[in-house]
Symmetry: C2
Subunit: 636 residues, 2 copies
């Protein structure tokens, strides 16, 4: 039986759709073209897809995160409510995915790798060819004639060609009066493009380096001839509206039609970024981009290619594929030259993907003389320990607590987020720095780390994370959600509600940081060296850009190593993709890295649980591991 569902959105506009009994409200909304965010991927866990039933009824399969009053007032989770009759639905304003991203850059701020030599290093090249004209004494077919010219004039043999390009060859040869420019991919031995006439050897040949982060997608537009990065653009991954972390995305993708939707969402993001990057550079057009190198975690790469990712999430955590064959842009769906070479960099395991192999390359870890720790804490935490001699890696399911999820007043690092906190050790009054400088709306990852450290050092929290309710300040209290510390009073905040951190939040954060620290411990144990002997810590990912190492050490998230041994490298993944895009030796090194990396599955590792439990304290059960924190606590 069919039912009519009418959605009214925050701007007052309405859209109606007819759906049969049993369809979820979230799907009905999608069919009606009404956007409802599902940050948990439609699992009914986050409560952020709540809508209000104004007329009619729906069957609520779950009301998690809704109070009885909410339900009485008609609230329902769109992803958990089944259509069983006509209904009018009010859709509240959806959280905007705003940007606290690097501003788009056109200037070449990235150094071209020293000694980059297009002719020697690049797999894609453009050659100009002068063909003999056919006549009655030489009726050689066009394709053979072109192949002969490639062989004799450029030493290129046995090229393959796609049917769509083959269809154009005759016209191009004649349009160019038998002088043509061919773009050839020597790695795949494939003809990529054929254009009429002569092209200057200095003319740019365009490529893109792409990093698909779970949260942010970055695109660098690169002139493969000079090696220069000509534009850098970034944007939130369009999949965010269907899940904030990889697990939620996999769940959403595994549902009917979800794979196609996830694929098209990330393709839309990438394609619009490519277009934006090209607009910033005179003469660059998406259709002229002949090569793309793509990095990202294993889930992101699977979803990009439309390969089912369900087995990544389930024991024993298997990817469909780690080493992806080179494809062309047409197959992948990138809106660049349809014959463009698309090189998805190799991953190692379900939770150690191409972002890490690329990151290891760009951080130089695989060429380090000293034992080095490489950390990429994004939505997940991946760790590599190694040097020129060895590489061991693991992934910590830290959860998205440091991205603001699973924390009552957590939020992403956008305008209004508290990004740093200082607490007065006598009055217990906090001072906050807010992104954008306005009134605060919540706490982002760096703010949470800073807050946790300050609470611990000032005694608001004890080692175990308990809130000391006996302190002489109204900021510590028994709140609705248990013991909490109020960071900002309602009078100071954007929406008039107090911003606090609860005991439950602290527990979530402890779990996240303990998972990461336990990862370090397991890796160090595995190679038989104490963590303190690590000579260098390289931090990749946007996370590293904003956190305060001192605070991160104080809560026991990072090992207690001298600060000058930490280096923050920013987005090592996109930089690795850029190096792989430019240089075939670098690209080979990424394969070598993937090949030689030993992956340790923490969930199957006996020592992990102990290490995790020991790290569930501030900063750790074993204070000897954190001498600098011990010293700070003992200061008068």
């Amino acid at each position: 039986m069919d039912h009519s569902i009418t959605f009214t959105t925050a701007d007052g506009s309405t859209r109606s759709v007819t759906v049969p009994t049993g369809v979820m409200l979230a799907e009905a909304a999608q069919r009606a073209g009404v956007e409802i965010n599902q940050p948990c991927g439609g699992q009914g866990r986050c409560g952020r897809c709540a809508v209000q039933v104004a007329k009619g009824e729906v069957r609520r399969r779950s009301t998690l995160r809704l109070s009885a009053e909410d339900v009485d007032a008609g609230w329902a989770l769109a992803c958990q409510s089944v259509v069983e009759g006509d209904a009018d639905i009010l859709v509240p304003e959806q959280e905007k995915i705003e940007r606290r991203l690097t501003t788009d850059r056109t200037a070449a701020e990235v150094q071209v790798p020293a000694g980059y030599d297009y002719a020697a290093d690049q797999t894609v090249r453009r050659v100009t060819l002068s063909l003999s004209q056919p006549n009655m004494d030489d009726q050689t077919d066009d394709w053979s004639r072109l192949q002969t010219a490639l062989r004799l004039q450029a030493g290129i043999e046995n090229l393959t060609v796609s049917l769509p390009l083959l269809r154009r060859i005759g016209a191009v040869l004649r349009e160019g009066d038998w002088t043509v420019s061919a773009v050839v991919d020597s790695a795949g031995n494939r003809l990529v493009e054929l254009e009429p006439g002569h092209r200057s050897p200095d003319e740019p040949l365009w490529g893109v380096a792409i990093d698909i982060g779970t949260t942010t997608v970055s695109v660098w537009l690169v002139d493969l001839v000079s090696g220069q990065v000509r534009a850098q653009v970034a944007e939130y991954n369009g999949q965010i509206a269907r899940g904030e972390d990889v697990i939620s995305r996999i769940i959403y993708a595994s549902k009917n039609g979800g794979e196609a939707e996830m694929r098209s969402r990330v393709l839309d993001t990438i394609n619009s970024l490519v277009e934006r990057a090209c607009k910033r550079v005179k003469g660059a057009e998406p259709g002229q981009i002949v090569k793309a190198a793509i990095s990202g975690n294993s889930t992101m790469i699977h979803l990009l290619l439309g390969i089912p990712a369900a087995s990544i999430r389930l024991t024993p955590f298997i990817t469909a594929i780690n080493t992806i064959p080179t494809m062309n842009a047409r197959e992948v769906g990138l809106v660049i030259n349809p014959e463009g070479v698309v090189d998805c960099l190799p991953g190692v395991a379900s939770y150690v993907g191409a972002d890490i192999t690329a990151g290891v390359l760009s951080s130089g870890l695989d060429d380090a003389d000293n034992t080095t720790l490489f950390i990429d804490v994004g939505t997940n935490g991946e760790i590599v320990l190694g040097s020129r001699e060895f590489l061991v890696t693991c992934a910590c399911s830290a959860g998205p607590a440091f991205e603001g999820a699973g924390v009552l007043h957590g939020m992403r690092a956008t305008g209004g987020a508290i990004e740093e906190v200082w607490i007065n050790g006598e009055t217990f009054e906090p001072t906050c720095r807010v992104i954008g400088g306005g009134k605060p709306s919540g706490l982002c990852g760096s703010g949470l780390i800073s807050l946790l450290a300050e609470m611990f050092l000032t005694g608001v929290l004890d080692k175990a994370g308990n809130v000391n309710l006996t302190l002489p300040t109204p900021r510590v209290r028994q709140g609705e959600h248990g013991p909490e510390y109020v960071v900002a009073w309602g009078s100071e905040t954007e929406d008039g509600r107090d911003i606090s951190i609860t005991r439950v939040d602290v527990d979530n954060l402890l779990r996240a940081k303990a998972a990461i620290y336990a990862g370090f411990s397991v890796l160090a144990d595995n190679v038989g060296m104490p963590l303190e002997m690590v000579e260098q810590v390289l931090v990749g990912g946007s996370f590293g850009k904003y956190i305060n190492v001192e605070k991160a050490v104080q809560i026991g998230l990072l090992p207690d190593i001298e600060w000058n041994r930490f280096q923050f490298l920013g987005n090592t993944s996109v930089r690795g993709a850029y190096l792989g895009l430019l240089n075939k030796d670098s690209r080979q090194r990424i394969d070598d890295i993937a090949g030689k990396m030993t992956y340790i599955e923490l969930s199957a590792d006996n020592s992990f649980y102990d290490a995790f439990m020991s790290a569930m304290f501030l900063p750790h059960t074993d204070m000897d591991k954190f001498p600098s924190v011990a010293a700070a606590l003992n200061k008068p």
Copy 2:
């Protein structure tokens, strides 16, 4: 400005369409979904797209083949008439493309080549693999796991895989509980199919051999395991409605959108034949066909692949490509397994295509001890002279006269066509055999050859093809189109009109036969041997099946060689495709044939014109070349 055009078809139904000024009536009809045949490809040459303007006016760019009375009565050529205002158009009944084709066969009437050994000869094979199951100690990705099994259990390495198949692998492995059947193409080193579970080694593995004739498309369904042909089906090429010969087709294809239409027309024909073939064999389904070998002339192969064919028609007659890379069915548009290997056999030149290389293979010419002549007279005439030692070839633009085109009462070899004629040498009265046995409607190719020979032998025609109007019979007369011989009076014919052959028709037929005979002469001259020394004549193509050698020799179409040295092989092209489909050595031989064939371009050959002019007589200027005909003439 837009105009409304209403078409009324023979069945009384009407369809309207709105088109702007300047659109051709033929295109307007197409947009309205009304079928109007254009046998000459829309060149305004054949007059068979004539329609009647009942209301309004059109601008006639050409009225070729329409009389002044026709034009007064509103007749116009749809392909030459421009819309300039509203109009009502009457579309007469369109000629049905009926069949005089081999009936579909299910029984295996084709002998499997002696010694066919699937395991050794076939490039495509199915292997069953048992994979180890992943677990926490072995988290190898699905694709690597499958590759390992292929290497260890079947010795197959470095396979490539398409993205669509890659997407299915994880599900298939799990559905089959880690036992799977893989179909692998060893020639292209590609995974073609992966199915869950174990498959019996005797289970058929399906392939198709396809011959795309200009007139007829043939499909053989083959079990690659046993080598048996399990069904043979054939049908007119759907492109016929847009041109009867290759030149008309190229012209039509070169017009706006024509390429896509030509491609989809022949694909429709092939795909429906494949479906028909599968319906005849229990358990066979198009989706299970994993390999196709396709033969056809160069124009047919270009049009199938959507590759522009315009340069084939224009001096210096260049194909876009002779040696086609192997593709998959998805790219080509064949509705078989989308990953199925599609192997278009190689051609040699614009007018010596894969049908000839395949024909040479299946005729065994390239392995003949004696000098052999191979002729394939279809819509064009291709000739190969050679043996194990050498192969020379040429193409004669004989034109479609022997297919009934360009002859006043010519028609295709369908029901109602006169296929054989005998003339009484005293009364000059003819006796005719009609296909189907009913009243005659016209003359088909074999009928024309027979008629020409009889007219010559009885003196109705002289050596130069002049009609002897002085004979004492009303059948020779000065007709509307010049001197003619009446083969059937209106009282005996299907449509009540006399069926005659005119002096103009005779000239067209002389030109056609002279072109072919001149081709023989040039090849023989080229290798320095008299044509009479040819030890064997192999005739391929459907043409050979119906003609009478004696008659063909009498008109000088075939060389005067003892009849027992002629062999009629039927469709050598589809048989060559079948051999290439089955056996990789045979397939290699086709490449070798293409490589070693010397192509002689007759239009650039100085001796061709002389040879042609000498052959413009019945049977030839030099009667010494036709001793058996000379003897017949001298009989009392």
